[in-house]
Each structure stands twice: as C-alpha cells, then as structure tokens.
Amino acid sequence: MIFGLPVISVAIWLPIIFGILVLATGDDKNASLARLLALVGSLLGFAVTLPLYTGFNTTTSAMQFVELHDWIARFNIHYHLGVDGISMLFVLLNSFFTVIVVIAGWRVIEKRVSQYMAAFLVMSGIVNGVFAALDSILFYVFWEAMLIPMFIIIGVWGGPNRIYATMKFFLYTLLGSLLMLVALIYLYNLTGGSFSILDFQKVAIPMNAQILIFIAFFFAFAVKVPMFPVHTWLPDAHVEAPTGGSVILAAIMLKVGAYGFLRFSMPITPDASHKLAGIMIALSLIAIIYIGLVALMQSDMKKLVAYSSISHMGFVTLGLFIFNAYGMEGALLQMLSHGFVAGALFLCIGVLYDRMHSRKIADYGGVVNKMPVFAAFFMLFAMANSGLPGTSAFVGEFMVLMGTIRVNFWYAFAAATTLIFGAAYTLWMYKRVIFGAVTNSHVGELTDINAREILILALLTIFVLGMGVYPLPFGEILHASVNDLLVHVAQSKLPL
C-alpha cells in the first residue's frame, strides 16, 4: 500500500495519468514543461514500484500484492493483479527504463515533445499491467494496448522507412494476439466460466486441444520474443525506431513474449509443451546460431544489435524449454541482463547517431580519439553483450548452458557457439567503429558525451556489473516461483 492505495494499481495508473498530463501541455511551445513533467512522472513511476521489491516475500511462490475487483461481471472478468518472483523484477525493469528513456530523449527529441514523452509514460503503465495481470482478458487488453503507443513512436519519430516498419510490427503482433484471444475464449468455456489465469493453469485439457492452444499461444508469444521464423519484424522495427523506442523494444517488449511462455504456455498446456519442446529447442538453436551469423554480416549498427537480440533471446527460449531449474532461472536472468545490455547498446548507438546521423559502421572509425569516455562505456557494454564473465550477461548464459548440458551435450555445444559468434560480431563492430584511423571528416568533429549521457550510461553500468558480480539477490526472488512452476509443468494435465 502507498498512502492507502494498492501498489500495483499505482504502478500502472500513475504513469498513465502523468502521460495524459504531459499530453495536455500541448504543442512544442511548452516543450520544457512537458520534459520536466515527464521526468517527474517517470521518477515517481519508478519510486512507486520499489515497495514491490522491499515488501516482497521470497519464500513463497504465491501471488503477492494481489488486487481483485469485479470488472465485467457478465463474463466473470476481474480486475485481478498480482506479482510473483517471475513478474516482479520486470515491473521494476520497465519502470526503470522509462526513466532512462525520458532522460535519453531530453534534448534529442525536438518535434512533438509532449506526444513523445506521453507515449512512453502511457506505455510504461500498460506494460506494468501486462506483467501484473492475473485475469487473461485484462492481460489481453494491456497486451494489445501496448502496441498503440509503440506504433505511434516508431511511426512518428522513426527513421526513413518507419511506416513500413511500424505497420509490419503492428500487424505481425496482432496476428499472434488474435489467435491467442480465441484460445483464451476456448479456455474460458473449458473452465466453465472463468478468465483467471490461475484457473486456466488448473483445468484439465485433452492433448489435441492442448496442442492447438499451445500453437495459438506460440504465435502470440513467439512473434514478440521473437523466435526464428517470425522474427523478421524486429530488425525493421529496431532500425527505424527512435533511440528510446529501440531501447524499450529491446529491454521490455521482447521480454513480454518470454514472460507469456512462462505464464501461459507452459503451465496451461504442460503436456503440449513437453511434446513440442523439441521443436522449440530446435527453433531456439537456429536463432542462436543462424541469427548470430546473420548479425556478423550487418553493416548497420542498429541492425546488428537487433539480430544480436534475437540470438540472445534464443538463449532464453532454450532455457525455458529444457525444463530444469538452471535453465529457467538462467533464462530469467538472461532476460533481465539482456534488457540492461541491449538497452545500453541502443543508447550508445543513439549517442553516435545524434551526432553523426548515420548508423552505418563504415561511416565511423577512430571515434576513440574524439570520445574517450564514451568509448570506455561502449567497450563495457560490448563486452557484456559477448558474455564476458563479471558482467550480467555471463550469469544467465552460463546457467542456461549448465541446464542444457544436463539434458543433451550437443544442444549445449551448439548453444555455446553463441559465445564465439557473440564476441565476434560485437567486438568486430566495436573495432571498426571505435578504433582505427579517422577516415570520415565528421568523426573528427565529434564531441564527447555530456553529463546527461554519462548519467544514463553510468546507471546502466552499475546494473550490468552489479548483477554480474553478485547475482544472488535476483536469483533469490526467482527461486520459489521457478521451482513451483517446474513442479507444475511436470504434472500432466490430461483428463483422466
């Protein structure tokens, strides 16, 4: 409770209310007011999520901070919120990144500032809702509503090919969502009239139905992750999105897909999950290896990081579908870590893009001569992206590999190649951009990062290193929920 108000509701609605206030500041004459209001809103939005962490009980796998009210009585739909170890950290991550994005867009965004800031604040609230919703229709409403601000962000402030990218992003994700909606309605009828996710997890479902439901969920979540055959929207969306949009896409949006697998697919259709795990593992390995190789060939920095994200998310889905505690906790840690690392890399690219208006690797070279401080930060995040021990990325990747090797040596062998490819494409890009002789005259005119940019990158550095050196606090939060989920997934839900 904050001032007598339930924590999760405040975490959802406070940013949305601030978003509306920011929108009300009107056109760009009041841009500084809009920025200030957005900063206050995002900081408060982050502050109100902290009680989730301080008041969290790590010994139970039950839902905490639960709120339950009637919403649409006719269909037995409730306003039902709560977090467990799996979702709690993502609410914090999301609120944290909203602050980062607001600061990152402070000077960079000059047209329609209020709309830009409002879109991010509203999205922050909606995404919190996605992670905290325990009623599937409430979840669906947040899930779809999330698309609207992102659609606007990419379409208005994006790059030259933004309209194609944003349409593709929206329609791709809508396809998956609509199939999921049918599955949810089917489950509603199967449970005899409940849309509660927790009830869905208990109901017995015949094998054929489980497989169809799994496929419907797969389309919804795999598109968001994104997994191998349905990943093609991501490079387009990432490349065309403004920096803030890319950061939120990478740090938050990709995570809701994997979260969906954990919250819906695995506990609701455990038998189908086991049966189709082979396919999921295969798709994950293809993502890790093939997309890793694709990343190697990119000439555009943003595209490279986008492909690297797909490859890293392959690690996450691999960790989920090997069904052991190492894999699953590793996957969750990898999700958090990838949020920090990919977010930071997109911010770094944004720093360069703001100065040079180019994302092409070939346009750079010798940046270290002009931007030594920046080069140091960039180095750290590049290393983290290649999974260097001591950074957050190592923890998750290592645990997933540990889990995988218990299942099958060759899976682990294939997955481990990412450590090589990851290092190759990231460091090669770093070398070409940062080191070497200054060939482009514009590079010679670069100025190093200012205090605002240092602040953002330093904040992320704390998390990347902190989580790499001492991951225990994160792991503790996950333990109870992950173990419970594994027990749940191991039980067959076929009707007797």
Partner: protein
C-alpha cells in the same frame, strides 16, 4: 379490449407521427431560418424518449391484434435510435447548411425514417415489418436524391431504389410462401406452426431462402452488397451517416424478429446460409476496403464486414449469441456515427474531405480531432482498450461457446486484414504531412459531440459491462418469452 390499452404500447410511435405532422406545418410557416425546425425536431426526439421510458412496463405487450409488440428489446433499441438520430442531426447541421440542404424536407424525412425504424423494431407481424421497412426505405431513397443537381447522388439514389425494390420483392415473395405454408403472417403463430410440423416443407424452405436473401440485401452482406459502396459514396455525407448508422439497429431487430421469433424452427437451415454470408462478407469486405481511396467507400466495405461479423452472433444463437449481436450492432452504430461525423467536420463549403489523403497530417492541423479519430479507428479494428474490442470479444465468445471455434479463427484472421486499413488512417493522420493547411472550423456543438463520441468509445471500452448486460437482459426478457 379498451382502446387506450391497445394504443399504449405504440404510444411513442403515435407521438412521433403526430409531431412529424406538426413539424411539416410548422416548417411551412418558417421562411428562411430552419434552425427552429431543427430544434423542434431535437425536442421531438427528446419527447419520444420520454414517452418510451414513461410507457415502459416490464413484460411483453401486444397491440393491434398482435401486429405490434412492445418489449424491453424494442424499448432499448428505440431509445438508442433516438440517440443515434439526434447525433446524426447534430453532426449534419453545419454540413448541410453549407450545401443548402438544411431544409425542412430533410428533417421531416429523417423523422419518417425514424418512425419506419421504430415500427420495424416493434413489429410482430410480416405486414408491420414490411410497412416499417418501406417507410424507412422510401425516406432514405428520397434523402439520397435530395441533392438534385449531383449526378453521382442521383445515380446512387437510383441504384438504391432499384436494388431496394428488388430486395423488398424478394422479401415479400418469401413472406407469401411462408404464409402459404403456415397460414399466418404473425410471427408467434408462424413459429408455433413450424414447431408443430408443416405439411409442405419445400414451400417453407423456398420461403426461407427468399427471406434470407431479402434480409441480406437490406443488411448489405455479400453477395447482396453491390448497392452499399455506391450509395455510401454517392449520397451526401450526412445521408451516408444516416444510412450507415441508425438503420443498422432496425436491421438487427428486423433480422432477429423474423429469423429468431418467427422462423426459429428452421434455424438449422438458416444458420448454414448465414455462415456462408458471414464468411463471404468478412472476406470480400475486408479485402476490397484495402483497395479504396475514398474513405466513404472504405467505410462502406467496412460496414459489409461489420454486418458479417454481427451475423456470427446470430449464427451462434442463444441469449449469448443474440445478445452479443445486439451489442455489436449498438457499438457499430456509435463508431460509424463518429467516423462519418469526422468526415463532415473536415469538410467545408465546396470541399468534401472524403478521400483518404484528406486525412493526411490531421495530427498537425488538429491534434484533438486526430486523437478522436484514432480512438474510433482502433475501435473499428477491435483493438483494446476501446469498446470495439469487447464487441468482437462478445461475438467470438458466443461463437466458441456454440462450438464453431474454426469460424472464430477465420473471423479473427479477417479482422487482422481489416486492422490494416484502419491503421492506414492513423498512419495518414499521424505520420504524414498535411496536404492543405486550411484551418478546420469546428462548431462548438459538433466539437463537443465528437469529443463525447470519441471518449465514449474509450470509456465504454474501460467499462463495457453495463451496456453488455443491458443487451443481454433485453434479449433474454424479450425473445425467450415466446
């Protein structure tokens, strides 16, 4: 039976008819300024709603020897039709004034159309149904042709009239066959006769085919949709607004009265026909809408799709199905009012904002209107948190409950195609630069109504429970008692 008790169920219609006659005379006395007629009409609509509420009693009442029925379903639909018509008039006023069409005839025809709709909504007899339908249709034909010197308008009126007459003919032919098979024109009696078994099954089946074709014509579903795009496109936008919004309520009532109240015993037959109509409408409507450059034509194809989706509710049957179809129709009316209202707000003297490119960069010209239009488009596409999502959700729920999960999957795939052209409007408004910088003059009354309309779509989306329950309750109280 005493006279008053017999007339009470029809009190609102009688009041409306008397008022229309008064307005006809009153309007003659006014030389130039028709604003008083307009206010008189709005007051009449308010009066109608008071009469409808005042005479409402729980239960089902018949009048005129069972030709006319007053139940909760009819009262709810009538209240909504007054509201819808009132909004139509507010949205149209400025648009018609600028085009010299703001005449007494328009207002009187609109009220006659409303009277026709209400008769349809309350009909319990094939003759009353037909009477209401023709009163509505003839008023609309005349309204489409109101702009005499417009070639495209006259063509639309002609098409509408010829095809409408054909549909009426089909309907009458079907009704006569049903009469031949069951010996009655009253819906309740027909229903009983079918349940008890009819000698001549073939005659009944033929009659059903003709009736469903006639209904399909009036609803504008594929393959009886040809008139829809031309009429929507050709008519002055105010008339398109009228045709595309409120009459859908009457069309819903008309369909439910005939198919559910009258021909429930044949539901196995007509369900199959509606499945074909619904799938064809969703497919053709969505695919054709993508290719349109005129927004009125685009909305026409979108109407075809929406009507197809509404049919899914009727296909599923039961309280869930009919209730969800009714909810869908009401929500569709609210959305289409806003959509066409927006076209008229962007139009000005001598300029029709009816092509897609007229919406380019609306966010830069008027952020508020662009935001309202975005809400309306998202709602039409069925994206939460707008009410359009719950309309689709309720229908899909009834479809899955009835065991047609495959139909639900097909319909969501077509919705995905549909989302594209609604998103394209948002894209034009937000991502493109405007082609013209003429300031948008917004009258205070239309501006307020548009705000209410757009925010209403959002607020109903956050709290859809009440309207859903009203639809379900009125269907339950009215249809099962037969």
């Amino acid at each position: 039976m005493n006279l008053m008790a017999n007339l009470l169920p029809a009190a609102a219609e009688i009041f409306l008819l008397v008022m229309v006659c008064f307005i006809l005379i009153f309007d003659l006395l006014l030389k130039t300024n028709k604003i008083y007629t307009y206010l008189f009409v709005q007051l009449t609509l308010l009066g109608c709603s008071l009469v409808t509420v005042g005479t409402h009693e729980r239960g089902v009442f018949y009048a005129f020897n069972g030709m006319f029925v007053d139940d909760l379903l009819s009262d709810v639909l009538k209240m909504l039709s007054y509201l819808g018509m009132s909004m139509v008039l507010v949205y149209s006023r400025q648009y018609l004034l600028l085009r010299g069409l703001f005449t007494g005839e328009f207002l009187v025809l609109a009220l006659f159309a409303l009277l026709g709709m209400n008769v349809m909504i309350s009909a319990n007899h094939f003759l009353t149904l037909y009477l209401g339908l023709e009163l509505l249709s003839l008023s609309l034909y005349a309204m489409v042709a109101l702009q005499r010197d417009s070639a495209i308008g006259t063509e639309a009126a002609m098409k509408y009239f010829v095809l409408g007459a054909l549909a009426s003919g089909l309907l009458l032919y079907g009704m006569s066959m049903i009469y031949g098979a069951t010996g009655s024109l009253e819906l309740g009696v027909i229903s009983n006769a079918i349940h008890q078994g009819v000698q001549n099954k073939a005659l009944l089946a033929f009659g059903l085919v003709f009736i469903v074709s006639g209904l399909a014509f009036k609803l504008g579903v594929v393959p009886f949709h040809m008139w829809v795009p031309d009429v929507y496109h050709g008519a002055p936008t105010a008339m398109t607004l009228l045709i595309g919004s409120v009459p859908k309520l009457a069309a819903f009532a008309f369909t439910v009265r005939i198919l559910v109240e009258g021909l429930q015993g044949l539901s196995a037959d007509w369900t199959g026909m509606l499945v074909v109509l619904a799938i064809a409408s969703m497919a053709l409507g969505n695919l054709s809408a993508i290719a349109q450059t005129n927004i009125k034509r685009m909305f026409a194809y979108s109407t075809i799709t929406h009507m197809g989706f509404m049919l899914l509710g009727l296909i599923s049957g039961g309280i869930e199905g009919y209730g969800s179809a009714m909810f869908y129709t009401v929500v569709y009316m609210i959305m289409s009012l806003g959509g066409f209202g927006m076209i008229m707000m962007l139009s000005r003297a001598g300029f029709e904002a009816d092509t897609l490119s007229d919406f380019k960069g609306l966010n830069q010209r008027s952020p508020w209107l662009a935001f309202m239009m975005m809400l309306l488009m998202l709602s039409m596409a069925g994206i939460p948190p707008t009410v359009g999502f719950y309309a689709k959700f309720a229908v899909l729920n009834s479809v899955v409950q009835a065991g047609y999960t495959w139909l639900a999957v097909i319909s969501v795939l077509f919705s995905l195609i549909g989302a594209f052209y609604y998103l394209r409007i948002i894209k034009l408004m937000y991502f493109d630069t405007p082609e013209s910088h003429v300031p948008i003059a917004v009258e205070s009354d239309t501006g307020l109504l548009m705000t209410l309309n757009g925010l209403g779509v959002l607020l109903l989306g956050l709290m859809p429970g009440t309207l859903m329950s009203i639809c379900a309750v009125s269907v339950r109280q009215s249809l099962l008692l037969h």
